[in-house]
């Protein structure tokens, strides 16, 4: 589905060297540490990571939704405009119009004491200056677009009268109301069941295609990212550690974290009682992180040089990039693995057995 011609020209959204820090009582939390990516018109970028990886903070930064205490640096350019300058200028009809967001929990993003039709209409009246009647008629049409049966009846219902799946469709309808060019979906299906998840992802996919929207899909679920994204960025400890087109990322990955994450999840086609390969240890602290590869303590490839500084993303934006000195599937990676196996331990002191990791 990747249409190379569409990738030509300037990207719709371009993020360069984004940093986000939160001062707290315990110290400064380095939530996002130098994230860069491009998103082209009509494409979907999935940002994958675990809790604390910085994926949601990145999304909130784009939408100007961070608390006032956050310290942000870096560039965010949308259609040639500096988004952070727009945010500072209190621009009224940009966020929620050009760029909109769908959140994880539909119940908290909807007002419980307002009919869903009114909530959608509110967006249209505020941003596009529609009259009440026009806005309600459009809201009904939007409910139809997002596949809600009996929209004429549903517009006058309250959120609690709808199932979780329908509520999330209402939230999507609100996000679509002003015909955005970029939709950011932050874990849009985490709170719903798997059959509903499939429908919602199909819906988002279809809308993106029909309307030529671009989408950023934020998820912890590698399966969700795989089927739905053109490009994938894997985040760990506030950094993008690997980014590539979805196919390369899932079938020819370079970063040991991507590899370990894919190996650790139970897959439906694995045999029953298949022994899982967990990632040892746990995610790093974001306060005063040591000057080393953040994944090194958990990595079966780790060598002495991994502890000597944070590796940067290789290559040019838009290509398959990874931040690793001993990438999996390369000679350097294989040599690192062989050395660690022979020594029985990594440079960071992690025990390596014949089972651990793999590579090659």
């Amino acid at each position: 589905m990747a249409d190379q011609a569409a990738s030509a020209g300037a990207p719709l959204l371009s993020v360069r060297d984004l940093h986000v820090r939160f001062p707290t009582e315990r110290g400064t939390v380095n939530a996002v540490n130098g994230v860069s990516f491009d998103l082209y018109e009509g494409k979907t970028l999935a940002i994958v990571g675990e809790s604390g990886s910085g994926k949601s903070v990145t999304a909130k930064t784009l939408m100007n939704l961070l608390p006032r205490t956050a310290r942000v640096s870096g560039e965010v350019t949308y259609d040639g405009k500096d988004v952070r300058a727009l945010a500072a200028g209190k621009v009224k009809h940009f966020f929620g119009v050009q760029m909109t967001m769908v959140f994880q929990d539909p119940m908290t993003s909807l007002n419980p004491v307002k009919k869903v039709g009114e909530q959608i209409a509110e967006t249209l009246r505020y941003h596009l200056g529609r009259s009440r009647g026009e806005a309600l008629a459009e809201a009904r049409e939007l409910l139809n677009v997002v596949g809600i049966p009996e929209p004429a009846r549903r517009v006058s219902q309250y959120p609690h009268e709808l199932s979780g799946g329908l509520r999330q469709r209402v939230v999507i309808a609100m996000a679509l109301a002003c015909q955005p060019r970029l939709l950011i979906a932050d874990e849009p299906t985490t709170a719903v069941d798997v059959t509903v998840q499939k429908h919602l992802l199909d819906l988002l996919d279809g809308l993106r295609r029909d309307r030529g929207m671009s989408m950023i899909l934020i998820t912890h679920d590698l399966g969700v990212a795989h089927g739905r994204a053109d490009d994938v960025a894997v985040m760990y400890a506030g950094r993008v550690v690997e980014t590539a087109d979805a196919r390369s990322l899932f079938f020819d990955m370079r970063h040991p974290y991507t590899e370990a994450l894919l190996r650790s999840i139970p897959r439906i086609d694995d045999p029953v009682h298949h022994r899982l390969d967990p990632i040892p240890g746990r995610p790093p602290e974001l306060i005063d992180p040591p000057d080393e590869c953040a994944f090194a303590p958990r990595c079966v490839y780790a060598q002495a040089d991994c502890l000597g500084g944070v590796p940067t993303l290789s290559g040019l934006v838009g290509l398959h990039r990874f931040a690793c000195l001993h990438p999996t599937g390369t000679e350097r990676g294989m040599a690192a693995m062989a050395a660690n196996r022979a020594a029985g331990t990594t440079a960071a002191g992690l025990a390596v057995t014949d089972r651990g990791g793999g590579g090659g």
Binding site: S163, G223, F250, I268, D269, D270
Partner: protein, 335 residues
């Protein structure tokens, strides 16, 4: 089932837990009731892991809670080693409880935040004293070591541990009384992807080490497949399909099971489940559909499905039972 029936119950000497026609209703005001669990029957043999899978509202957690009597049983039997837990009260019920222990979904809220984790783990032993094996420092150290939490951290409180560590502590607490049956209610759903595998492997190790019989409840079909010898697929308080895990995943016969499998977002799906689109509206459990409860969403439903409730029947000669008027034909391999 989405129906009833007993065809799946096995006549074997090693059946440790047998649930027969279990019904759980919750009052919902104005004389209406939530039909959370309706005539559910299954059994678990000693040393087996039975997975219960289904979407939210299917009654899987209620089944688990009913077995250990955390919710009241409306009707039916829960036979544990031949004894009906449904009728037990007072001291008799208390006497069985150490043998059936449970771990919960949210590892942090299931531990008392004000207590040291060593005391959390030891509480059951302190209560039961010499009936089971007396409280000793060594015993707690051994349990902490078994689940992979360093004993030197025993004086810390739950908030000082990560979610994965808290789940390990919850497992140690459940194992302290040397139970025969361990009920796991969504034990990894609240954990990060990279931690889930650690806990799943730990549960497998503990099962082997302590000779446990496990009831494993999850909405995640890949997780359930990984841990279970047999599985039960539930929908709206009823059993759809039950049997050997590999058999059901390779030849799903119930349209609902097929729809669930087809919905999994998987890096590279290999199970062929081409027909599987069902609507997203789960009917209300206060007024469940008549006949087969799944008929309102089922792509194969016909007139009979809305009128007659299907009864479970064996599929071929395998350990595989389905309650459906129009099960998907399963090729029976000659042996």
């Amino acid at each position: 089932m989405a129906g009833t029936g007993h065809a799946q119950l096995r006549d074997r000497d090693d059946v440790l837990l047998r649930v027969e026609d279990l019904v759980v209703h919750f009052p919902a005001g104005r004389r209406s009731v939530v039909h959370a669990v309706s005539e559910v029957s299954f059994d678990v043999a000693e040393g087996e892991t039975l997975g219960i899978v289904g979407e939210s509202g299917c009654g899987k957690s209620t089944v688990a809670r009913a077995i250990i009597r955390l919710v009241d049983i409306t009707a039916g039997e829960v036979l544990y080693a031949g004894q009906d837990l449904a009728g037990l009260e007072g001291e008799d019920l208390r006497g069985v409880r150490p043998q059936v222990q449970m771990i919960f979904q949210d590892p942090i809220s299931s531990l008392n935040p004000r207590r040291r984790v060593r005391d959390v783990i030891a509480e059951g032993l302190a209560v039961w004293g010499d009936d089971i094996g007396s409280w000793s420092r060594d015993r707690i150290d051994e349990l902490m070591d078994a689940v992979g939490v360093e004993a030197k951290y025993g004086a810390r409180r739950p908030h000082e541990f990560s979610g994965g560590q808290c789940q390990r502590i919850g497992i140690a607490r459940a194992l302290a009384l040397d139970p025969k049956v361990l009920i796991c209610d969504e034990p990894v759903s609240a954990l990060d992807v990279s931690i889930q595998a650690q806990i799943l492997n730990l549960l497998q190790d503990m099962k082997r080490r302590y000779g446990l019989t496990v009831l494993f409840i999850s909405h995640d079909l890949s997780v359930v497949k990984n841990v279970s010898d047999r599985i039960v697929v539930m929908y709206l308080g009823k059993v759809c399909e039950i049997g050997d895990t590999a058999e059901i995943y390779s030849h799903p016969a119930h349209p609902y099971t097929r729809a669930l499998l087809a919905s999994i977002p998987e890096p590279a799906p290999t199970v062929d489940v081409s027909e599987g689109d069902i609507g997203d509206e789960l009917p209300s459990a206060t007024d469940p559909p008549g006949g087969c409860r799944f008929h309102t969403r089922c792509p194969r439903a016909t007139g009979i499905c809305g009128e007659v409730e299907p009864v479970s029947e064996q599929v071929g000669d395998a350990d595989h039972y389905v309650a459906c008027h129009h099960p998907v034909a399963v090729q029976v391999t000659a042996r």
